[in-house]
Each structure stands twice: as structure tokens, then as C-alpha cells.
């Protein structure tokens, strides 16, 4: 690996409270100096980053790469390439692949493929219950050993509270964080839209707030007075934020994230039955969207993730309720986050933290910041560059996005993984 000098960049690192115009030095895959030239440093490669930002490589808490099992939608190679183009250097895969990540062999398969692709540090969540069926605990200790950074039952709710409680206790025994995507099986059955005026008008099966808030409240009661770590992902309701906030003030070790699209879209967007807006949890009201933005700004919601769900073309070509939910969103995570800064909804520092150090802490990984000695995962951004997102130029195999045609300001021009350039913007 060559020694690299990145000159004249504005280095932004929320975790180390760093935000200044300076030079950054990389020796042998690692950051060797920020502002201070290491002894005997000789640059073999110089990147002029004048007027650009350097931020830590982005950490995405939830990205489905569809491999193994759903390769018609996408695969690890295509999706990590797309991730690199969007400044993401670390990402975490939920366990609902096919086969489910409930055995070390599946973890090994994914990690091997990711290593071959060389585009991203890929981590997995293991299944909380065998086959995600909610009946029998998975071999969590073994999954952790194989490399899983947490356990989750993905969108498959565990309806038996006794099994749920024991799963928490067992995970905690092995010091494993439990990741929850709260969605009650019965309250959300066949649902595809937020319960409100729009779903009523369009005659779509509705998903009430309680489908999310009731399981969150139940889980918070189950883990009361314990030191079990629980992360609530993909929140959609204002009320969920209140619940999380109360739990945090009561000392519970809970964290939360929201997907970037929930901070920009509402149920108004489904008015014309456009299946690109079909997501789970459903797009909710304007009031919820504002509350989610506020939750990120004040820190109740720790992180913003992509909730990347690439699909094949046919998955979205059907009447709205018959289409598959989800957005191919790995390439819009940073642009949508920066748009919140542009709109004045988030301070820059909070926005960057929510996609770098905060998700890294949730995953228990020492990445997402730029201290000397850290592996050089970073992302160079031209903050003034204006561009239009388009399905024509998307790298993800899934072209399912409602954001095609959106204008953004600020674009990734280079991404480095372990000091190696894995993406360069071509003009």
C-alpha cells in the first residue's frame, strides 16, 4: 500500500470533535497523521482535496445485499460496489437471507464473498431464533464466534413473549446486542399503507401505529431493570420516539435508527399507487416525519441507515398491494442525509455522526472515526457539487427507487477502504 497524502481537505470527524482544514496522512492502510506530518513521511500518492470534505467511511446499519438466496435481485459484489460509490465502507446485513443466517456456515459464505469483492467491510446479524421462526433460540454464541455483530429476528415478529424474554436473556448472557424491527404480526397483517386518510381513501389495507409501538412497549417492559442491549431499527412513528426516549431516561441500554427515506417521504406520496413508495414500515404522516427528524436532531434516534432493499424489475410491476416493499437505497443514504443539513433539519455534525460513529458504536465496531492509528476508511466529498440522482446511473442491481430525478448538493468523489481507493467519481 502506498503512503498517501490528502491535502487541504476539511476533515470532519464528529467523534473526535474534529472539523478543520488540514492534511491527512496514510501509511500502510492506517491514518498516520492529521495535520501533523509523520516522521520521515514520503508521499507516494497525493490527493488534492481542496474545497472538499473528508468524513469517516460511512457505516450502514441495515443493507440487504440479497445474497445468498435472492440473487435475481442483487448480489454482494454489485451492492458493495454501489455502497463504495456512496461512501459506505462498513455495512451490516440483516439475517433474513435464504438460507437464514442462523448457522456459522452462512456467515462464512457471506464474509468470504464480501472479502472477494473487496469493496466494503461487511458484517452480519445472526438470527435470534432458528429459521427466524420465533420458536427455538438460535445458537447465538456460535454465531457471534463466526463473526455476527448482533442478533435479530428481522421483520419476523416473535409473538410468544416468553420466547422473546428468554431470547433477550440468552443474548445478554453472551453480551450480544439484539436488533429489533418492531412490527406486530397481527396488527400489520396484509397491510401496505399507514392507517389514515390516504389508506382509507385508496382502500389499502392499513397498518396502525400500534403495529410498531405495541411491540416496542412490550419489549421495553420485558427488558426493564436489566442491562440487556437492544437496538430498535427503522422507526416510523412519533410515539415510538417518545417510548425510546423514556426508556433511555430510565437508564435502559437502548438505541434506535431510522431509514433515510422516512425522513423525506410521507403517506401522501402513495396517493397515485406508485409502488416505488411501497415500504415497510409504511410511510407515515407529516407529523411523524417531523418527529423522526427531530428525534435524530436531539439524539433519541442515534443513527440513519439506508434500509437498502434492491429488487428485480418485476417485483414492483403489479398493483400496489401486490408489489414487494422496499427501496434500493444504498446510494441515497448520504445524499438524503446531507439534504437534511441543507434543509436546516440537522446540524452537519449530527448528520455525519448519525451515519458514521453512531452506527459503529451500535455495532460495537471501532470504525466510523478518523483518529491516528485507525484503519484508513474514509470518504472524500465535494460539498458544492450539484447533481441529479437517476436510475440510469445507479450502480445497485435494484433500480427500485422513488428518488430518481431528485436534485442533491454534495457528492462522493472518492472512497478509501483500508487506504485503498475503491471508488473514484468520473467527471
Amino acid at each position: 500500500m502506498p503512503n498517501i497524502l490528502i491535502k487541504n481537505a476539511r476533515v470532519i470527524d464528529p467523534k473526535n470533535q474534529l472539523d478543520k482544514q488540514t492534511d491527512l496522512y496514510i501509511i500502510n492502510k492506517k491514518i498516520a497523521g492529521i495535520g501533523t506530518e509523520p516522521k520521515n513521511f514520503k508521499a507516494e500518492q497525493t490527493i488534492d482535496a481542496d474545497k472538499c470534505w473528508i468524513i469517516p467511511g460511512i457505516v450502514d446499519l441495515s443493507a440487504r445485499l440479497r445474497e445468498p438466496g435472492l440473487e435475481q435481485k442483487a448480489n454482494i459484489e454489485t451492492e458493495t460496489h454501489a455502497a463504495a460509490s456512496a461512501g459506505i465502507t462498513t455495512l451490516c446485513i440483516p439475517p433474513d437471507t435464504d438460507p437464514v443466517i442462523d448457522e456459522p456456515a452462512v456467515v462464512e459464505l457471506i464474509l468470504r464473498k464480501a472479502k472477494l469483492a473487496k469493496k466494503s467491510h461487511v458484517y452480519t446479524l445472526g438470527a435470534l431464533t432458528a429459521g427466524l421462526k420465533g420458536e427455538r433460540l438460535s445458537e447465538m454464541a456460535g454465531l457471534k464466534e463466526a463473526g455476527c455483530v448482533g442478533v435479530s429476528n428481522a421483520r419476523n415478529a416473535i409473538s410468544n413473549p416468553l420466547i422473546l424474554r428468554r431470547a433477550f436473556e440468552y443474548a445478554s448472557t453472551h453480551n450480544i446486542t439484539v436488533f429489533i424491527e418492531a412490527q406486530d404480526k397481527y396488527l400489520s397483517e396484509n397491510g401496505c399503507a399507514h392507517e389514515g386518510a390516504i389508506a382509507s381513501r385508496l382502500g389499502l389495507n392499513a397498518i396502525p401505529y400500534a403495529a410498531e409501538t405495541a411491540p416496542i412497549a412490550q419489549i421495553l417492559e420485558l427488558i426493564r431493570d436489566t442491562d440487556i442491549r437492544v437496538h430498535f431499527g427503522r422507526l416510523s412513528c412519533a410515539r415510538s420516539i417518545e417510548l425510546i426516549n423514556d426508556a433511555k431516561s430510565n437508564g435502559l441500554k437502548v438505541t434506535a435508527d431510522v431509514s433515510a427515506h422516512q425522513l423525506h417521504l410521507t403517506d401522501m406520496d402513495i396517493s397515485s399507487f406508485n409502488s416505488q413508495y411501497h415500504v415497510l414500515p409504511p410511510l407515515r404522516s407529516q407529523r411523524d416525519m417531523e418527529a423522526l427528524r427531530h428525534g435524530v436532531a436531539e439524539g433519541t434516534i442515534n443513527s440513519i441507515c439506508s434500509d437498502h432493499q434492491p429488487h428485480e424489475f418485476d417485483a414492483k410491476i403489479a398493483p400496489f398491494p401486490a408489489t414487494e416493499p422496499g427501496i434500493s437505497s444504498i446510494e441515497t443514504l448520504l445524499p438524503l442525509t446531507l439534504k437534511l443539513v441543507e434543509n436546516g433539519a440537522l446540524p452537519l455534525n449530527t448528520a455525519i455522526a448519525s451515519i458514521t460513529c453512531s452506527p459503529a458504536e451500535i455495532l460495537g465496531l471501532d470504525v466510523g472515526h478518523l483518529a491516528v492509528g485507525q484503519v484508513a476508511n474514509l470518504c472524500i466529498i465535494d460539498p458544492e457539487k450539484e447533481w441529479t440522482f437517476s436510475t440510469n446511473t445507479m450502480l445497485s442491481h435494484g433500480k427500485n427507487t422513488p428518488f430518481s430525478g431528485w436534485h442533491f448538493k454534495g457528492k462522493v468523489i472518492q472512497t478509501l477502504l483500508e487506504g485503498r481507493t475503491i471508488f473514484t467519481e468520473k467527471d
Binding site: 382509507s200 389499502l204 392499513a206 396517493s271 397515485s272 399507487f273 414492483k316 403489479a318 398493483p319 400496489f320
Partner: protein, 346 residues
């Protein structure tokens, strides 16, 4: 009259939802939902239907759509609705093809598109579509070849616009064209009813004085008030002084889980009995989109009584469907109007 909640339709509608129904001249191109159509279009449908009502009574057949091919594309079983569409098409001299496609064979979207492509290749001019998914008619209209017209014969819980228009036609024939002085109560399973949604849009577009919906909380969709209705959970209050009472069919096959304890209790609380119907205005009419569940939503003596216009609805259904077919398939509609009016005068 109770103050109606402010209608929010304008800011709620996605442009492509309703623009797709109109051509660049503002004429009806597809008929997918009442929502987004102006009073002028609805009145045009009613006026055209009025002229065809005469055709049905005397001449039976006009050559307006000779040489056109209409496909009844039914993904959900229906005999009555399909028959009236078929009769309407035949009375306009169109060729009709009936396709009943079981849902299981088309649970995948690509198959639905494939089905469309195959039929398009047979040079058809119009699809009359019924499908179990809300939004299916819009989906099809968005994907057919530009010359093909789409008529929604019911999509999921979303819309059943021809049924709503035949109901408006029935009301206009019985109560006159001034909907502003009318109080209309729609009673029953609003949640699952595409008919109710289309009726609400149609009644409000025609400036009906007051539109009420009546039913238990489990059968009233959330925030339905935003569509311009007042909600009642008690049938006595709900139909008091109504000019028109529309009873909805209790669709047993759609009931999932604990919406109602029993048909008996439903009838006790919401069934339209003689005694209850007397709370409406003395000259009130009762309507029902059919088929009726006697003793579940309505007492036989009311359904068959002299204030019941249920069978008229069926008759008018053909005229209204003829009107929409001739308007959307365009051609010599104006000549058609005058000729049919002449025929009526004979």
C-alpha cells in the same frame, strides 16, 4: 345540515392518479375512479345515460360501437356486474369477450402484464377490469397500449365508479337533479366497500347537502371524515331525516377475524327494519348495490317495499355503463346522443 368537514381532495391527489383518466381535451379517457373528475363529467355521464335509458326500453340496440372489441377482464368472480357490462357493450353493438382469470394464476405481476400484452395483440379497444387489489385498474391503465381504454369494474376496496354513477342516476331520477337539498346515509361495511368510497366521491362532487356513513367502529375506516362525510355509529341517528338510505352488502368473505361478533347482532344493531326506515323522511328511498343478504342488512319488507329502488338500480346500471363506454371509446358520441334521443322520442 351539519357542517361538512373541509374536503382535502385537491392537495391529496397525486397528479397521475386522476390525470390519467382524462385526455388532453379534458374528455374521459379511462374510467377508474370518481375522484378527480369534475361535476361536468359526472353530469355528462348522467345525461348520456339518460339518453340510453330510452334505448333500453324501446330500441334495445344502437350501432355506436360497431366494430369495437371490449374485453371483460375479471380477476375476481362476478356474475351480475359482468352481465350488465356485457349487455351494455352488446347494446352498443360492440363485440364482447369474457375472460375470467382466477387469482391464483396471476398472483405474480408479470403474469398480469403478460395477460394484458396477449389480449392487446388481439386488437381490443377496451378492458373492463375487476381485480381484488386496490389500484389494479390504475396499474392496468398505466401499462396498456395508448389506444386502449380501461374501465374499472371494481378494484379491491378502492373504487367501483360505474356502480356509484348508477346510484347517482337512480337518485337523480327519484329525487331530481339538485343534490344540494339531499341528505344521504350509507350504512354498513364502509371499510371493505369500494362502492361506498366511490359513492362518497360522487355525492360530494355533485354537491350533496350531507353525506353520512353509519356503522360500528370496526367497519369505519380511519379518518374517513376527510373524504367529506359525517360518521355515525348508531343507525337511528344516522338515518334520521335522510332522503336516501344506501345499505351496503355485508361481505362475509372479506371478514378477517374479529370485525363483528355475529350476523344476528349486526342485524339487531344495523339492519334496516321497517321501524328504523320510518325515521328517514317519509318519501325517502332505499338503495342497495346487491346482492342482498335478507335478514342480515335489510328486512325483506323494506327491500321489496314501494320505497325500494333496488331493482331500478340494476336496470339503470346498463344505461350508465353504456354511457361510460361510449364516452371513453369516443368516436361519434355526439351523433350517437342525438340519434338515441330521437329514438327515444319515437
Amino acid at each position: 345540515m351539519v357542517n361538512k368537514p373541509t374536503r382535502r381532495t385537491d392537495d391529496l391527489i397525486g397528479k397521475d392518479l386522476w390525470n390519467i383518466q382524462l385526455d388532453d381535451q379534458g374528455q374521459l379517457k379511462h374510467f377508474l375512479t370518481i375522484e378527480g373528475l369534475g361535476t361536468n363529467i359526472l353530469n355528462q355521464i348522467l345525461d348520456t345515460a339518460e339518453s340510453f335509458a330510452g334505448v333500453n326500453e324501446s330500441v334495445k340496440k344502437v350501432p355506436l360501437l360497431r366494430g369495437k372489441t371490449i374485453v371483460n377482464l375479471f380477476f375476481e368472480s362476478s356474475t351480475r356486474t359482468r352481465t350488465t357490462f356485457e349487455l351494455a357493450a352488446k347494446r352498443l353493438s360492440a363485440d364482447v369477450l369474457n375472460m375470467n382469470i382466477s387469482l391464483s394464476a396471476t398472483s405474480k405481476g408479470e403474469t398480469l402484464l403478460d395477460t394484458l400484452r396477449n389480449l392487446e395483440a388481439m386488437q381490443v379497444d377496451m378492458f373492463v377490469v375487476r381485480h381484488a387489489d386496490s389500484g389494479a385498474a390504475h396499474f392496468i391503465a398505466n401499462h396498456v397500449a395508448p389506444h386502449i381504454r380501461v374501465l374499472n369494474a371494481g378494484d379491491g376496496r378502492h373504487a367501483h365508479p360505474t356502480q356509484a354513477m348508477l346510484d347517482m342516476f337512480t337518485i337523480r331520477r327519484n329525487k331530481g337533479a339538485d343534490f344540494g337539498k339531499l341528505r344521504v346515509a350509507i350504512v354498513g361495511d364502509i371499510l371493505h366497500s369500494r362502492v361506498a368510497r366511490s359513492q362518497i366521491h360522487a355525492l360530494n362532487t355533485l354537491n350533496t347537502g350531507e353525506v353520512r356513513v353509519v356503522g360500528p367502529k370496526t367497519l369505519i375506516p380511519k379518518d374517513i371524515e376527510s373524504m367529506g362525510v359525517s360518521v355515525f355509529h348508531n343507525i337511528e341517528d344516522g338515518i334520521k331525516d335522510a332522503d336516501v338510505v344506501i345499505m351496503l352488502r355485508l361481505q362475509k368473505e372479506r371478514m378477517q377475524g374479529a370485525l363483528l361478533p355475529s350476523e344476528q347482532e349486526y342485524y339487531e344493531l344495523y339492519g334496516l327494519t321497517e321501524e328504523r326506515f320510518n325515521l328517514a323522511k317519509p318519501d325517502a328511498i332505499v338503495m342497495h348495490p346487491g346482492p342482498i343478504n335478507r335478514g342480515v342488512e335489510i328486512e325483506s319488507s323494506v327491500a321489496d317495499g314501494d320505497r325500494s329502488v333496488i331493482l331500478n338500480q340494476v336496470t339503470y346500471g346498463i344505461a350508465v355503463r353504456m354511457a361510460v363506454m361510449s364516452m371513453t371509446l369516443g368516436g361519434n358520441i355526439k351523433d350517437g346522443n342525438s340519434s338515441s334521443q330521437n329514438q327515444e322520442k319515437k
